[in-house]
Symmetry: C2
Subunit: 589 residues, 2 copies
Amino acid sequence: MKRSMYAGAVRSEHIGQELTLKGWVARRRDLGGLIFIDLRDREGIVQLVINPKTASNTVVKSAESLRSEYVIEVTGLIVERDQANDNLPTGQVEMQVTQLTILNASQTPPFEIKDKIEVNDDTRLRYRYLDLRRPEMLENFKLRAKVTHTIRNYLDDLDFIDVETPMLAKSTPEGARDYLVPSRMSQGHFYALPQSPQITKQLLMNAGFDRYYQIVKCFRDEDLRGDRQPEFTQVDLETSFLSEQEIQEITEGLIACVMKEVMGIELQLPLPQISYDTAMNNYGSDKPDTRFEMTLQDLTDLVKNTDFKVFSQAPAVKAIVAKNAADSYSRKAIDNLTDIVKPFGAKGLAWVKYNDGKIGGPIAKFLTTIEDELTERLQLEANDLVFFVADDLKIANSSLGALRNHLAKELNLIDHSKFNFLWVVDWPMFEWSEEENRYISAHHPFTLPQEDTVAELEGDLRKVRAVAYDIVLNGYELGGGSLRINQREIQERMFKALGFTKESARKQFGFLLEAMDYGFPPHGGLALGLDRFIMLLAGKENIREVIAFPKNNKASDPMTQAPSLVSDKQLDELYLQVNMNAVKNNEQE
Amino acid sequence: MKRSMYAGAVRSEHIGQELTLKGWVARRRDLGGLIFIDLRDREGIVQLVINPKTASNTVVKSAESLRSEYVIEVTGLIVERDQANDNLPTGQVEMQVTQLTILNASQTPPFEIKDKIEVNDDTRLRYRYLDLRRPEMLENFKLRAKVTHTIRNYLDDLDFIDVETPMLAKSTPEGARDYLVPSRMSQGHFYALPQSPQITKQLLMNAGFDRYYQIVKCFRDEDLRGDRQPEFTQVDLETSFLSEQEIQEITEGLIACVMKEVMGIELQLPLPQISYDTAMNNYGSDKPDTRFEMTLQDLTDLVKNTDFKVFSQAPAVKAIVAKNAADSYSRKAIDNLTDIVKPFGAKGLAWVKYNDGKIGGPIAKFLTTIEDELTERLQLEANDLVFFVADDLKIANSSLGALRNHLAKELNLIDHSKFNFLWVVDWPMFEWSEEENRYISAHHPFTLPQEDTVAELEGDLRKVRAVAYDIVLNGYELGGGSLRINQREIQERMFKALGFTKESARKQFGFLLEAMDYGFPPHGGLALGLDRFIMLLAGKENIREVIAFPKNNKASDPMTQAPSLVSDKQLDELYLQVNMNAVKNNEQE
């Protein structure tokens, strides 16, 4: 029989109709001589009733054999329910079943199909098809599809052309680690899965496409954590002839459109903008969470007036005030907070508590000369707790920035109904990499330098600024973009500044440099991390919750067992050998 | 200055307005003391005029330096053109340029940016950004974006959920050759890029998603030809609880929607259906091109009445009639046609010409006893040319099917304005693979057998029929689908019929079999080859014309040089070695 509608969509208006529904047995109860079944499909749950006195023998026998997660087809009359269940959208009605067919049986599932479960992640991933049956998971994917559809409609209306770019691309060692794909037809050669279609979309601008977008998989072979997966999805766009303001306006329109159509929230536009320097100085982060205050205060000048050398001789002393939190933190609890700042290079975490009109704590005695001004500057009130870091400015900022985020969670300062978007602009072009002992691109080597700082490509690289803009949501980097270099001469100087030789630049990026010889237009764009965006909209803390079949922290899939061993024939065709000794040594470690 | 609009969109209604346009110099001509420039952007071309008598010196100097493919920004008054050019949508107007800025220069491109070019494929691919500037190429990608957007809207309206499935998947040797991706975190293990998300989408049905779709990249490491690329795009959908007719209706609706909204063509629904056997018998193909007749005629019974043993003793004798074509084919030309049928196993190609009321040619004398009946059955008319193949039925069908397609092209029988869609249904489940010396799946091992043939899984595999349906357009397989197996017991029998042991089935597909233990619903779906569909809509003969950055026939990209050599560090991290001897031997071949 043809299904009449989704089980979860039955309402009072269907009373009196005979319907056919199909779905899963969420629950069976035998009560007062009747059999009650909760029938579940993707739209929800509806109650079925089988009355052994009136139903046929076959129906009753089938009904009695039902267990959770059996797949069934039922036909019957929709009637008003005696006792309405106001917690269910279908709670006013039930079906009096007259026909029942079991379409498939089920063993007892390894965990219950309901929203709150306590199951370890690998079990959820191993039985992902059961995990996804849980209503809150299914909702995440409906949300995701609605967001992507809204984004596509918005960009389509603005004449963006959806273009697919290659997955089998060229390996470029600049940036994160590539996933490689061995070639069979060019033995010993490898494709790389794209970390982003950055250069490709620039070439589409060179081809005159003018406005490009794509919702596209990208790949990075890096160690994994909550908001990272080996493959992730990007809303990728690029335009020609537009200013950074115009690109930001398009992006803001896109985000406002999603927030309104999907979340029912009216965003105030334009979004706030702060410079990279201000973000670092005030929030200690290039992706500040502005849902709460607790900004960083600069006390460097003030503490010069003390004899406390730890402070007075430090390049920078900065502080944050945890309002009304002094009694929430014992000495031991405060000591534990040093674990938060240490990874950022801070050598220690000083603190004072403010009570009864004065500061207290181990270092209070060193600050008596500045106590009044400190109290006024920080506007201290009873029960405030002040944390100080005295160090290089960069370390002071970033360690207090991390502490700020940590305290906000612990002190429950975050209003989770807020969606605080903002732009971080005026980025440095380069950042120093301790690992590589050289300057690397803060964004990527194709970012346009701000015109008045171009000359520093051959001077002080710290002074080169980028025409780049990141968009931040609730402390997460939601996306980033920039204008790009379209002049070969500037691009060559950029590669040189990054330590490329003429030869190595040509070898890696010769095709891009050559493309710049043929009327490459001014262009720029942006990419948004879709998984992260959906995660934040869904109120989740791990992108795995919004990816249908994600990998675990070892980048493997407990369900299919991918990655797996492959046959010798497959390797031979690729002219590859696995270095088995290395594998064995590694396994013994 | 902000661009006012696209250059190619300027019309008479803009006369009298001062506009700013940006784009490429398509052509510069100096005529009668004036400088004329064709300015090109993605929407077309508009004429600019610079009058050295009235324009500023700077503008004139800039204009005189312009060469093809320079990128410029111009501002000026739109005026009516003295001599309108009716071939151009902008032909009524021109711009009197008052400001001109050169945004980027260009070297002379390696080929002209115009529609008809004679350039070898690798040059086009090496300078793909220039190739894509050619208006007909850009149109292909606008068409493609319009088609995908139309498909998405259609499926979204039908409550299909767009879900992304993994690119880093598990290698399954059943089917075509996988592209492998070595894992760094599980050394010696490999992911595979998906040949299609077949099992994944089935698991989404098991998860209760009910209606899934995705426009998704798929990968096959096979040798390449015109309608094959290493990566290709599929419109992939799957539904639960629907019959094959309902899935076909959804698909027909989708295709009709695209044809109407994108091509302005109203399709007659439902689409015709023919069985696999009829397709083979009448057209010699499982993807018949029905834009022309010339169907295969079965003469096996008739030729039994001759002494011509080549015919009378053959298992099957079939014929096609090339109407009014006898004088177009010399004996030599006919001899050459044997090259068309030989690859299909035909040992020869017999023929007669019909003229003056009788048949002629080398074998005519053997057919005198049946000449009248032959003439009547084939409804021969003057100047008809008849081809015969006498062989196994399969060989006779497929070789005449290929000849039929070949002759249609040579004789120009095809109406290229036609879009003939049809379903081929009632497929055999298995086909014999000479290469593997066993039965393999005609579609894939998850296809549901027709109920009354299931028992033959342990009997005559040739008798097992599939609940499968392919959709064909103009002789191309546009897509295919089926209902799938949802019962573990049937799936296990299917694997056994395909030669799997219990152990090898468990190792490869254990997770699917296990999933069938937990209430797997009845389900089915379909996948359409998007590249092929766009190619046919655009009237092209190679899918490269509708893929932005395709690979050449060696699966490499002449622009980026992908695939390329990678560093030892990259290989070491993957515990891989390239077998260099093998590479060298191979290069010497």
